[in-house]
């Protein structure tokens, strides 16, 4: 029964894994490929293309992990991808073999997709996975009976407990796949004339493939314009009612599956009782308490664990920069390397601990089955703002870091809800804002108690977080009105049985997500860092040279090491003032004056576009604060003493500080987020819109704040 009719087998042979969501597909994929995985793109959609390689006795196979789907109906991008891979050789290389994974406790639902695959004429093997769960539920499947009826090889496995996995490799090695006879005769539902036409036009093998092409033709934007309009015309002429046909097919298919399952499955137990865990977790009151408890636990762990590796990374890259400066002769190239490239790479790597840990936690929550319970509890509260229950994951992640938040938004299938989530997530106050908040609050808010127990500074900090959340809700609500889509929003999600997480899969997720971030977003971040470094290091050559010479001259006259350090700090400050960024800072002064900022703060605003925390180091340089930057007090005292040269008043009045705080609540000021949004939306359009709206919002809110307090 091997496939020799139409397509030659690729070299290496391509094997696609397909199945419903939550059936253990990824575990199987991870088992087969290990870390030999590659994440790429399908053109025109946001679905990741996961491929990997498998070696069996020196022979190589290419494994493709398709997104989880319930059927081959065009409901979402995931299903369009499944269709494209299986049925559109023009766009994607068709796999030679297909492994269909079925949850043994959900046999009829799995067979729905499996029999559609059979009708497509793919070379198929069915894995009845989660055999342990089926046994626990007293479900017995006679796989030989299924094999007799369907005509494709059937294998019972338990990927979670590593049972039957060796046989899968064996089966792949022996190419034990089969093309089975048609399960549902599509000619009973659709007239042959139209199917023949489509079959010929797209050079397809059978009528079901032609029917699939009709189904997806209009939805898949990557099919040529000519073919799409041809298809639309044919359907129009034949008065083809797709919805009716699909329902009819569903009925016939499910009827046949029911007959089949009745023969092949015995179930001894009575209907399942309510899970006692769910009585608490899904409780209308305690459920929310549990959720808040889980969040606190995650953030507690995240902040205490991530800070160590982040400090190491910070220290390591500072050492490397220092080492380069000390080792190589001073010159533009050395400085570019030490002050532009190395800190740029460090700026990418520094995010890895947070991304990896956050995705680790998300994977655990997902794997245990808790995540879909959270979606269940929160959907009602997200919908008024144009968000989906699933939006809670990106938003909550955003408190740590917007990057993993934006990356987690891809689980939302509805385009509009996904876009709104991505656009508002960076408004949540992330951990990088914290240093800015702390310095400025320390500067402007008295460290006093009100009502005897509330610390004013703590209250100020809390207000900033609340302001961020209000920004999220308000913006989401506006976007809900502005953005348009024809897609219908739906929840319809399975609440899977609680399970122990698979630690290996959690580890692989952490690794893969970090890798994707470094490879995809890292390029953009590195590029922007270098541009910013050039702008901050170079200025009109004559001016810069003069300042440098003066600095050297002064240093030669200095009597003590302290004085040398002071002069060096002042020289650096002057250099920054006269650099291109300094010139830009002066140029934007008229625009930021209404917010209460002078041109020095303007410079810090521009440099901190790379990342918010850069604000602190720039401010430190520009106000020539030498010594240890980590000492908040030094910076704070210096800033408090600053006087505006033109007005003679203090630079950092409370009004200016409040205005700056509010500015940082709303402003984008993070190129890493920008880079990730570009990656997730596959283009520059949305990240630019996002940066513009966030900057405008920040400007407006800071303006209002300054006017109120000054």
């Amino acid at each position: 029964m091997a496939a020799k009719d139409h397509s030659e087998v690729h070299s290496p042979p391509r094997i696609a894994i397909i199945g419903n969501p939550n059936v253990g597909k990824s575990t199987l994929f991870n088992y087969l490929t290990g870390l030999n995985q590659k994440i790429g793109n399908y053109p025109g959609v946001t679905v990741d293309k996961k491929t990997g390689t498998l070696q069996i006795e020196g022979e190589q196979f290419e494994i493709l992990d398709l997104p989880g789907t319930y059927s081959l109906f065009p409901n979402s991008e995931d299903e369009i991808i499944a269709h494209r891979v299986l049925n559109n050789p023009e766009l994607e290389k068709r796999p030679d073999y297909v492994l269909m994974v079925i949850d043994s406790t959900q046999l009829s639902r799995g067979l729905f997709l499996a029999t559609q695959l059979i009708d497509l004429g793919v070379n198929l093997t069915i894995l009845l996975n989660m055999a342990d769960l089926a046994t626990a539920k007293n479900i017995e499947i006679r796989s030989y009976e299924l094999f007799k009826q369907l005509g494709v090889p059937i294998l019972q496995t338990d990927a979670r407990n590593q049972k039957g996995l060796e046989q899968i490799k064996e089966l792949i090695h022996q190419r034990n796949f089969a093309k089975a006879p048609q399960f549902v005769d599509i000619l009973k539902v659709v007239s042959p004339s139209i199917l023949d036409l489509v079959k010929e036009k797209f050079e397809l093998e059978n009528h079901y493939q032609a029917y699939q092409m009709i189904r997806f033709g209009a939805k898949d934007k990557s099919i040529s314009e000519e073919k799409r309009s041809w298809l639309a015309q044919v359907l129009e002429e034949n008065k083809f009612n797709l919805e009716e046909v699909q329902l009819e097919e569903t009925k016939i298919r499910y009827k046949k599956i029911t007959d089949l399952v009745t023969k092949a499955l015995t179930k001894k137990s009575s209907p399942k009782a309510k899970s006692s865990l769910d009585k608490v977790v899904l409780h209308p009151f305690f459920g929310y308490l549990v959720f808040i408890g889980v969040l606190l636990l995650i953030f507690q762990t995240l902040f205490s664990w991530a800070s160590y590796p982040m400090d190491w990374i910070d220290g390591f890259f500072a050492d490397v920069s220092g080492g380069i400066l000390a080792t190589f002769p001073d010159g533009p190239l050395t400085r570019l390397l030490a002050e532009g490239v190395v800190p740029g790479i460090g700026g990418v790597v520094i995010f890895i601990p947070q991304i990896a840990l956050l995705f680790g936690f998300l994977a655990i929550l997902e794997d245990t089955g808790y995540m879909s319970r959270v979606v269940f509890l929160l959907d009602r509260w997200m919908r008024p703002f144009g968000l989906h229950g699933k939006s809670i994951v990106p938003l909550v992640s955003g408190v740590a870091c917007a990057i993993p938040g934006v990356m987690a938004a891809r689980n939302i299938s509805n385009w509009k809800e996904k876009m709104i989530t991505i656009l508002v997530t960076p408004l949540m106050s992330c951990s990088a804002r914290l240093p800015v908040y702390i310095i400025l609050i320390g500067l402007s808010v008295p460290n006093e108690q009100v009502f005897g127990f509330i610390n004013l500074q703590a209250l100020a900090l809390l207000s900033l977080y609340v302001l961020g959340v209000l920004g999220v809700l308000g913006t989401a609500f506006l976007l809900k009105v502005i953005l348009k889509t024809d897609e219908k929003s739906f929840l319809m999600t399975e609440l899977p049985s609680y399970r122990i997480p698979r630690w290996k899969d959690v580890g692989i997720t952490m690794f893969e997500k970090s890798k994707t971030f470094v490879l995809e977003a890292g390029k953009v971040i590195l590029a922007i860092s270098i541009v910013l470094w050039v702008l901050a290091s170079y200025g009109p050559p004559a001016n810069m040279e003069e300042i440098r010479q003066q600095g050297i001259a002064q240093q030669e006259q200095a009597s003590s090491p302290e004085q040398v350090a002071l002069i060096e700090a002042e020289t650096n400050s002057l250099l920054l003032e006269n650099s291109f960024i300094g010139i830009m800072g002066r140029a934007i002064e008229p625009a930021i004056q209404p917010l209460g900022y002078d041109w020095k703060i303007g410079i810090a605003l521009i440099t901190s576009f790379a990342a918010r925390e850069v604000f602190i180091s720039t401010i430190a340089t520009i106000y020539s604060i030498g010594g240890d930057l980590k000492d908040d007090l030094t910076i704070r005292e210096k800033l408090a003493a600053q006087v505006n040269a033109s007005t003679g008043e203090k630079t950092f009045t409370p009004a200016t500080s409040y205005s700056l705080l509010v500015f940082y609540v709303f402003a984008m000021q993070c190129m890493s987020t920008l880079a990730v949004v570009k990656r997730e939306t596959k283009g520059w359009k949305w990240p630019i819109i996002q940066t513009v709206y966030m900057s405008a919002l920040a400007y407006l809110m800071a303006f209002i704040t300054f006017q109120i307090f000054s």
Binding site: Y70, L247, T258
Partner: protein, 115 residues
């Protein structure tokens, strides 16, 4: 319609359903036979906690096919297990699975109430 087939189907549906969970699907194209006449018709969102119903039909809608592919098929029995507060989603036990639906999605599922 004579009395014979009515009784036969009802006995099977009531007594054997839990042992042969897929049997009732045979009546796919004749859902009217599942009606006992005495049980009230309603939609799934109208169930109260721990009440069960048997699906009679899915109302036509763009979501109909999504519901059916998840397993919401005429003849199957479902039980409302959990309700999120303030008109939030509903969780139904459908055979071996716990499935969450929004209220408007559950309203598409026409059922007869089982006591």
């Amino acid at each position: 319609m004579s009395c014979g087939p009515w009784t036969a189907v009802n006995i099977l549906a009531d007594n054997h359903l839990k042992f042969l969970p897929y049997f009732s699907l045979d009546s796919f194209q004749i859902p009217v036979l599942l009606r006992t006449g005495s049980n009230p018709l309603m939609t799934a969102d109208q169930l109260t906690l721990n009440q069960s119903g048997r699906i009679v039909e899915i109302t036509s809608s763009t979501l109909k096919i999504n519901l059916m592919e998840l397993g919401f098929l005429p003849g199957k029995q479902l039980t409302l297990q959990h309700k999120a507060p303030s008109g939030g989603p509903l969780a139904f036990q459908l055979e071996e699975t716990l499935l969450a639906l929004r209220k408007n999605e559950a309203a598409l599922i026409r059922i007869e109430l089982l006591s």
